[in-house]
Amino acid sequence: MNANTVCRRIRAGMLPLLAGALALLPGSTPADSPATATPAKKVEARPEASIVSFEMLATNHMVVRAKINDKGPFALIFDVGAPITLLSNRAAEDSGVVKASTPRSFLFAMRGEAEVETLKVGGLTAKNVPVIVLDHPLLKAMGQMLGRRLDGIMGYTFFARYRTTIDYQSRTMTFEPVETKVRNLMKDLPDRLAGPRVAKHRVLAPGGLWGLSVGEAEGGLDARGIPVRSVLTDSPAALAGLKPGDILTTIDGRWTTTIADAYAAASGVAVGRAAPVVVLRDGHELTLTVRPSEGF
């Protein structure tokens, strides 16, 4: 086994911890409950949407109560920064996700990947949710600090199935199912880790014809945008009122601080759609409207 193989193994092993560790940061216990401030506001649910209320921990984390394979409820931290869903060994065993006899690794008693058949929160049931089973040290430390059991973390593999709305003020989340492909980090990333260190290349194709060219920004981190180098006569850009020398700061609500930014923003504007464009001209901010035409 050469050094590369060893390192790849180290990296593959670290993955669930870095990712799984997610961006869960323990924080500290506040003197008073953080969300005492304001009365709950009503959230209007769309049809088919499920409203789930959550509890705010003293550490500023959201906790939802979930039934896993009809067992529980379990207290799960809802974490938009977590790319995976994670269960403690105890919760995984109690819900039958893993058998008590499943071997554990010595590190964090990890049992690796498993699948939850049903995960119920409020009136919502998610089926076949991939989970990682391990006793996460941060979760354990937080549980000890708060004097209660925390059974896991609900992350991307759960919430990416829904249009998710989080309202801290009313302490509710709304989940509305959407058709989308949910990526599985634990499946995709090891392949990439083992693959060559070659950058992916992508050409950014604008959605329509604008008729302008742009240059790179000057001023580093202070730059507000990129200079318009040229505007072709009678082009959609010219008709909108764009001029060479304008500093282009926003296309269609997206910042343009690099040439690539401008192309990426233009790629989202279809032919004929009116796109707001913000420029700085003589120190003043102007909002213009460009309708790209068909062509390239």
Partner: protein, 290 residues
Amino acid sequence: MNRRLWRLGLVLVLAALAPAPEVARDPTIGKSYQVPYRLTDTNHFLVRVRVNGKGPFNFLVDTGAPALYISTDTAKKIGLEPAKNSFWTPVDRLEFEGGARLEHIKARVEDPFQLIGMNALGLPGASIDGILGFTILARFRLELDPTRDRMTWTRLDYEPKEPPVPDRAEGDGPPAEMGAMNLLGPLAKFAARVVGKQPEEQLHPRGFFGLELSEEGGEIRVSRVLADSPAAKAGVRSGDRLLRLHNRDLASLKGAREIVAEVKPGDRVPLVLGRGAEKLDLTLTTGEGF
């Protein structure tokens, strides 16, 4: 040990009891913003933020973090001096892509091990410069729709307080398991040095032609050639029919767009045009722009 680690200092409890200064109501309350995001290769949601007018930087949207974290590197770049006598460093303003902004915010200048590890390996495919946690996110109603390329943030009439400072007394080390986690950062850095970092995706602008096109009866017609454009220089005229592009027959405008999607500025692109009864072979050198 854990209790001691996060125990509140008496001074902080007293500080929390002090009356809060009058804060003017934020005029953006009730407003909604469309916030573009990027989903990284590691399934993290990044949004772009300017800190004190400088940037933009990539911040992780993380309800699992209690506050706003700015990496030490980012703080250095923008000249934000970490507060010496306080856990929090004041930030004058945060501007979010999409238009939302917040003023007079407190940030923690720190490098959580998760960020060090992921950035060292280049796993996310983009650098992560900081973390937007509870104290930022709770000011908005957040709508995250994986089928759209933007989140919707609606400013709530709610000002969350910073969590109190963890009290780290002298000799009070973190629990052993936390210590092990903290080793992940350096370990990832080491692994990255040996095997190499996953490089960031390279983005290229598409090449520019200057052709305005229309489709009628299965034919692609040049409805206009923009003046001084690469197409004009190559000799394309309005009224020409576009028959072949890059040595491929054209069946539809959609097909033409697909062929062109991979063309870079400066590429030489062979074209076959129909002009009246004539067939013309031209070579167009694409330019910069769109």
